[in-house]
């Protein structure tokens, strides 16, 4: 019987990676012993008792690290403490962007599965944390924008004059972008969206928004749905068009990302200068450097009356919902992990970064050299 440990997240994090309901399924269906750090769910009102009732054992961190075969967390939260040999960490560590986080794990010869690296294949969907969190982030980005915006999103025709609907520009129409589009549409805003992938056009239109098309994009077949870097001419054309649309918008939501790379810079300072005071920019790519030049990761800044909020983890602000989805994602992953061999599973292979402290993931060989 394997032992699984769940560690408390850093202070600012309210989400948990496993809820009592899934802990119960782990102990019952997968016959895993589950230990958890006391106070795990208190930030969203889940008591230790609830976990204990679900079959888990409360313990302290050191003990858990020493006795578990698998450790689940959301964030990178390991600082080199002593661990059981062959311990396997499961989390969302964003290691391609923070390769130096690997150090402590390599030293202690741990295994790592980083769920952000899961292939985006059909069968991986139930464990796809990027999709589930992206989706919530996209929704929350619009709610945040509406909260920060000094005007109203929908149109109001009133006896005291008409308030025009807000113009919302969504940059990047991946999971988060689409959700942002849908939410802004719901609130009655006029929504435009832009994505390099021309196939995103149909998706955008299927949500009733306008697709801003930049002709001349080069698609890459084997990028598995992800975006690839583009030619300079294309980038210039794109910049002009985007700048124009930015200046018209009251709310800009940046969600463009290229996995493992710095996020594309699409909202330049000069473009922001053209925006009206009171406008809002929400940058979901902040952690990867931001889609906006002025973004400060994790902070809300005021630039000439324009509010710029950079946060790649807005799903944190929906801790209840996010925990529910994460918990399902982690459960699906764990059950896949326990039932399959590494060799036969492209999913496991795709997200396994360390094997006994050695790098086994192809994307990292080059990365590590640069560090």
């Amino acid at each position: 019987m394997k032992t699984l440990g769940i560690l408390k997240e850093p202070n600012q994090e309210k989400r948990v990676c496993l809820l009592p309901s899934e802990v119960k399924r782990l102990t019952n269906e997968l016959e895993v012993e589950v230990k958890f750090e006391s106070g795990l769910g208190e930030k969203i009102g889940i008591s230790d008792e609830a976990y204990v009732e679900a079959g888990a054992i409360s313990d302290d961190q050191t003990e858990i690290l020493l006795s578990s075969d698998i450790i689940c967390t959301i964030h990178h939260n390991y600082h080199g403490q002593k661990i059981k040999e062959g311990l396997c960490f499961v989390g969302i560590f964003n290691l391609l962007y923070y390769p130096n986080r690997l150090e402590k794990y390599t030293q202690n010869k741990a295994d790592i599965f980083s769920l952000d690296l899961l292939p985006r294949s059909t069968t991986a969907q139930s464990m796809d944390v990027l999709s589930s969190m992206g989706s919530l982030s996209g929704y929350k980005a619009v709610i945040k924008a509406a909260e920060l915006f000094g005007g109203s999103m929908p149109m109001f025709t009133t006896a005291a004059g008409t308030l025009r609907p807000a113009k919302v520009l969504v940059i990047g129409a991946g999971v988060a972008g689409l959700q942002a589009i849908a939410t802004a549409k719901r609130l009655g805003a006029v929504v435009e969206a832009f994505d390099v992938r021309s196939s995103a056009g149909e998706d955008i239109r299927s949500l009733g928004a306008k697709f801003i098309e930049v002709p001349g994009y080069k698609e890459s077949e084997n990028a598995g749905g992800y975006a690839v870097v583009q030619s300079p001419e294309y980038l210039k054309k794109q910049k002009e068009l985007i700048n124009h649309h930015i200046s018209l918008a009251s709310i800009v939501i940046g969600t463009a990302n290229i996995p493992g790379k710095k996020a594309p810079l699409l909202i330049e300072k000069s473009a922001v200068d053209n925006m009206k005071s009171g406008s809002v920019i929400i940058d979901l790519a902040a952690e990867q450097g931001g889609n906006c030049e002025l973004t400060v990761n994790g902070e809300l800044i005021d630039y000439n009356g324009i509010k710029i909020y950079g946060n790649s983890h807005l799903s944190r602000e929906l801790p209840e919902s996010a925990s529910q989805l994460l918990s399902n994602n982690y459960f699906s992953f764990l059950s896949h992990l326990l039932k399959n061999d590494l060799e036969n599973s492209p999913l496991l292979k795709g997200c396994k970064v360390l094997e006994k402290g050695n790098i086994v993931h192809p994307s990292f060989e080059s990365k590590l050299e640069t560090t």
């Binding site: 929908p154 149109m155 025709t157 009133t158 006896a159 008409t162 308030l163 609907p165 009655g188």
Partner: protein
């Protein structure tokens, strides 16, 4: 010879049939008219053709030819000149001429009978004569009413007189044919003709002006019957068939028209006046109603249409179907705007919520102030469940509680159709003067249902 004539009549009978058939489908209607007209020309030619082997005196030929020519030219002339909106009365007028023709035929033919004539032929003659006479005066009166030259007169006594005369019309021939009436057959004919002429008048007099189209259709059907009976007299297939076609089709059409107007034929004939469903006696407004099909018809001609939504749109939850209508119109190259009044609905932005839900493009939403100065450019304004916000009393009636509120000047457009369920008032609880205006008609019914029906009808055009 006779076989040629027979063939000619056969073809023309058949073209009447095809003509009518085509005329009842929007796509082919114009073609149908042409086919029927060709059939008619053929029938006339064939008839004239018989003259050549029957030795008809020249004078008769000349008179006939002249009459045909004169009639044709005059008919063309009149039809070209009259305005489109006056069509129903024109039809009524032409129907009168047909009835007149049948009347004369009956008189002339009847007075020149010899004694040996069988009873069947006599009955046929009498029926042909009296139907012709009723159609004649009835149509003239209907024409007068529609032209506004004759007012509705609705008294009990009138209705009773009408009924007694109808009794007389039925009784006289029976008495005659049972040999109780010691008069000549031609006397009977004259008598019947006279009474029928009077009956035609009494028949139409009590019927309300708004119901005239139904009456005209009925009179048209009666002319058809007259034609058929004339056909029996001459044993002429094309007349019989043509007459019966028109008689039967006209009758059905009458019923259909009643249905489309939500009226019962009996009530129309009794001259009962139509009221809106919720119309309480308190409101003594004289309003014009309109049917969904007429609305659809007029929408189909409109180049620019404005939709003014109000609280009723929200109550009916008709926003989606309204957007469907808009799309349909736009596909027909009709420009559609929504005009939103600042206080339409029950909360600021109420209409915005609805229209956004139906995904209506912000580009077609117009503000009141934007368009109020050129409302006359709209061929048609659909007021969907709005009331106070289009009430001209706000501009004209200083005593009205809404006086001073800016309104959408729907009354300035070419034609307004207001959709509502009954005659109940809006939030402000005041009578709406718009409904009194000449260019405003009310379309009663739940807005969702009405819109659906309009769409269905419009798809046919």
């Amino acid at each position: 010879m006779t076989s040629l004539i027979g063939l000619g009549y056969l073809i023309s009978t058949f073209s009447f049939l095809i003509g009518l058939k085509f005329m009842s489908s929007p796509k082919n209607a114009a073609k149908g008219n042409t086919i029927a007209a060709i059939g008619m020309i053929l029938a006339v030619l064939v008839t004239i053709f018989t003259a050549f082997y029957e030795n008809v005196p020249t004078i008769n030929l000349i008179i006939t030819g002249t009459a045909i020519l004169a009639g044709t030219l005059l008919g063309k002339n009149i039809s070209d000149k009259v305005e489109m909106t006056k069509m129903p009365q024109l039809i009524s007028f032409f129907n009168a001429t047909g009835g007149g023709c049948a009347l004369i035929l009956g008189l002339v033919e009847g007075s020149s009978l010899d004694i040996s004539t069988g009873i069947v032929l006599k009955i046929v003659l009498v029926i042909g004569l009296l139907t012709g006479a009723i159609a004649f005066t009835g149509s003239i009166l209907a024409y007068g009413k529609l032209a506004g030259k004759i007012k509705d007169i609705r008294t009990k006594s009138l209705v009773y007189t009408g009924r007694s005369i109808l009794g007389l019309i039925l009784l006289l021939p029976i008495l005659y044919f049972l040999d109780f009436l010691p008069i000549e057959f031609s006397t009977l004919l004259y008598l019947m003709g006279g009474i029928s002429l009077i009956y035609g008048i009494l028949f139409v007099l009590p019927i309300g002006g708004a119901d005239m189209p139904v009456v005209i259709s009925l009179l048209n059907s009666i002319t058809g019957v007259a034609t058929a009976f004339a056909g029996f007299v001459y044993v002429n297939k094309v007349m019989i068939a043509g007459g019966i076609f028109v008689g039967a089709a006209g009758l059905l059409l009458t019923v259909l028209m009643c249905k489309a107007m939500n009226r019962s034929l009996l009530k129309v004939l009794a001259g009962t006046f139509k009221k809106g469903k919720n119309s309480v006696s308190e409101s003594e407004q004289i309003i014009k109603t309109i049917s969904t099909s007429e609305t659809a018809m007029q929408l189909s001609y409109a180049k620019r249409v404005a939709i003014i939504p109000g609280y009723g749109l929200a109550v009916a939850q008709a926003q989606h179907i309204c957007s469907q209508l808009q799309q349909l119109l736009e596909r027909r190259d009709t420009e559609v705007h929504y005009i939103i009044h600042p206080v339409a609905g029950r909360m600021p932005g109420h209409m915005n919520v609805l229209l956004a839900e139906a995904n209506i493009d912000y580009a077609v939403l117009k503000e009141m102030d934007e368009v109020n100065d050129h409302m006359d450019l709209y061929d048609m304004v659909l007021v969907i469940g709005a009331n106070d916000v289009v009430n001209p009393a706000a501009e004209n009636d200083e005593d009205s509680p809404v006086y001073g509120m800016p309104i959408i000047k729907a009354y300035k457009s070419q034609q307004v159709v207001v959709m509502k369920r009954g005659m109940s008032k809006g939030y402000a609880g005041v009578k709406n003067d718009l409904f009194d205006l000449n260019n405003c008609s009310l379309l009663f019914g739940d807005a969702k249902d009405s819109l659906q029906q309009i769409i269905n009808q419009l798809k046919l055009v």
